[in-house]
């Protein structure tokens, strides 16, 4: 019996995943390649033929391409600072992680309250007499302003998740390596580049994969700040499912998101490959 015990203990979680994840996923996959009961690629054709699709596709990639590197740099900095602290570490960690406790829609609304025409930023600017009347930042004429606002909101909201993973990873690196490098005269920056970063690879991999996939699924923040003016894949999926009531095309879009998520994961796995003998 003890030999089977681990499997028995895993059974509930596995069953849960199979019933509530794998099975619906299969249904979506099948839905995306059927139309009125027959196998067909019509859903993909309609999806790709819609005038907003390519904008949504490239916006999603652009957003991930801007947000993730910024978050990586910030998360590495924050994690290094937190790891180096002697006192008050837990407090700082909690403060950094506050945005994690907020839903992404709430985060979007927080930033909407700032950037709106009647928002805090406009009150501030008019209060100081810098502008005569409230400025419309998030109008359809300024797609770059919408992009900037979304990037700000995303960086603010989701950097902490990377930081938490990286802090844990840095804690696993034995101090001796850094001390040895210091003995040989390596500067702080050299130690970070040559010792911390390479040893951090496994955590970096996890953090990046998680963040990139979440970046491809960005939805609520964009909906709050950009409305329909900044189409992204997830928003279009929602739109096809609920507004246009075409589940086939919605399923096709979901498969596109899955495909780019898998592609990004494979690339990251390859780039940050940790050799077997180096695994601890």
């Amino acid at each position: 019996m003890p030999r089977l015990l681990p499997y028995l203990l895993l059974l509930p979680a596995t069953a849960f995943l199979v019933v509530f994840f794998l099975y619906p996923f299969l249904l979506v996959a099948i839905e995306s390649v059927t139309r009125q009961g027959a196998w067909s690629l019509a859903n993909y054709e309609r999806m790709a033929g819609h005038w907003k699709f390519s904008a949504a596709f490239w916006n999603t990639l652009l957003l991930a391409g801007i947000v993730v590197p910024i978050q990586l740099a910030l998360a590495l900095t924050m994690a290094s600072v937190v790891t180096g602290l002697k006192a008050g570490r837990a407090t700082i960690l909690y403060i950094f992680a506050i945005p994690l406790g907020i839903s992404d829609l709430a985060a979007g609304l927080v930033w909407l309250a700032i950037f709106e025409q009647t928002g805090f930023l406009n009150s501030l600017l008019t209060g100081f007499g810098l502008v005569e009347r409230p400025v419309l930042f998030l109008g359809y004429q300024n797609p770059w302003a919408i992009l900037l606002a979304i990037v700000l909101a995303e960086v603010w909201r989701a950097t902490a998740i990377m930081m938490v993973i990286l802090v844990a990873g840095m804690g696993l690196i034995p101090r001796e390596y850094g001390e040895a490098a210091e003995v040989f005269g390596a500067s702080r920056w050299q130690r970070f580049l040559r010792v911390t970063l390479p040893l951090l690879r496994p955590s970096l991999q996890t953090a990046l994969i998680l963040r990139v996939i979440l970046a491809f699924e960005v939805f609520a923040v964009v909906a709050a700040l950009g409305g329909t003016q900044f189409p992204v894949l997830m928003g279009e999926t929602y739109n096809w499912q609920f507004t246009l009531q075409d589940r086939g095309v919605a399923a096709a879009l979901a498969m596109v998101i899955l495909a780019i998520s898998i592609a990004a994961t494979l690339v990251l796995l390859r780039l940050l490959h940790v050799p077997k003998e180096a695994r601890t």
């Binding site: 005038w51 419309l136 998030l138 109008g139 409305g227 609920f242 507004t243």
Partner: protein, 419 residues
Amino acid sequence: MKPRHLLATALAGLLAAAPPALGQALFWSTQAQPIEETQAMREMVLKGFAGGVDYQAADGGPWLTRLQAEVAAGRGTIAVLGGLHGDFASVADALADLSDVDVAGVNANMVALGRLGGAGQKYIPWMQATYLMAASREALAYLPEGADLEALSYDQLIAWARAMAEATGGPKFGLPAGPRGLKHRFFQGFLLPSYTGSMVTAFRSEEAEAAWEAMKELWRWTNPASTNYGFMQEQLLTGEVWLAFDHTARLADAFNQRPDDFVAFPAPAGPKGRAYMPVIAGVAMPVTAPDPAQSRALIAYMLAPETQIATLRATNFYPVVEVGLPADMPASVRASGPAIAAMTTAPDALPALLPMGLGALGGQFNQVYVDTFERIVLGGQPVRAVLDSQAEELRRILAEAGAPCWAPDAPSEGPCPVD
């Protein structure tokens, strides 16, 4: 026992253990979603129904998903459905026939809409509304000379919006063009039919081109933040906008909070008439209703004159049966009532009905008009090319639905043509 059987048994056990219905009728509705309205529905409208009613308001998507799930499962808890004509159009098969409900007091045209193009009575008209223009007192000073508020034209509206923009330094006309705004109704039911006398058939005609050119001109003097607006009462109350078009229920707060500051008046007229779109909400019973007798009783209760007046107070939707309105109605009703009457009885009035017979394609039909707007007006794409490409999409939708024309388009054999 195999694990699979174990799982099945466990699931069956869970289902059997689900709490039994409490005897309250579940009223599953897309209407009265704002929490104050939901609360008013519960406390003012439905309190008098014996046995109690659990009124739940949801967005169209979740509303539909739950209904479909219950019908697919073959058993459900929803007693009565509330929704707009368009909500029901996509789920006709899920609705029980209500031909035996007494609808003697209800306008026959509305009752006919409730058949959804089939033989059975799929929903019973419940309440109605339309769209209106609203202006603040400040705006009236800029009304173009010779313009009559009760009989405005689109050219005069554009001149008015322009005069305000030029005098105040910022555009003061607003459209609900945000994601939750009802801009598509403005294009389908007001702008296009006013210029073309048609909603569908003349979609890519020269008159339609003129309509969109007028729209572009109007947009020059429209507050560009309109693409974020959902309920124009908000912008009217903050003063961001002085002149607006919206659904009566979405203007009501402005009149109710500051009755002396705002006026309501009919939508403008174009070369082909003063097009307007009536909105009809109905109540229906899903085929899976747990207690059909109770559901029918609730539907009959919704049509009673006292309930209809209470519903008007709660939701700003007007009765569908003849009732004498008491004198103490909210300010929004007192403001909108005469404007609606002036619009619907105007000599050039041109009713444009809600899309009919489109089924689940209603959303895609609306999207054609929204996309046309976004491409021509926001994206600055050439009018002719956009109309041609969107007409293709419109044709596909109507052919797929097999929907014949509805007013103001002339009746058609087979799918409504797009010339």
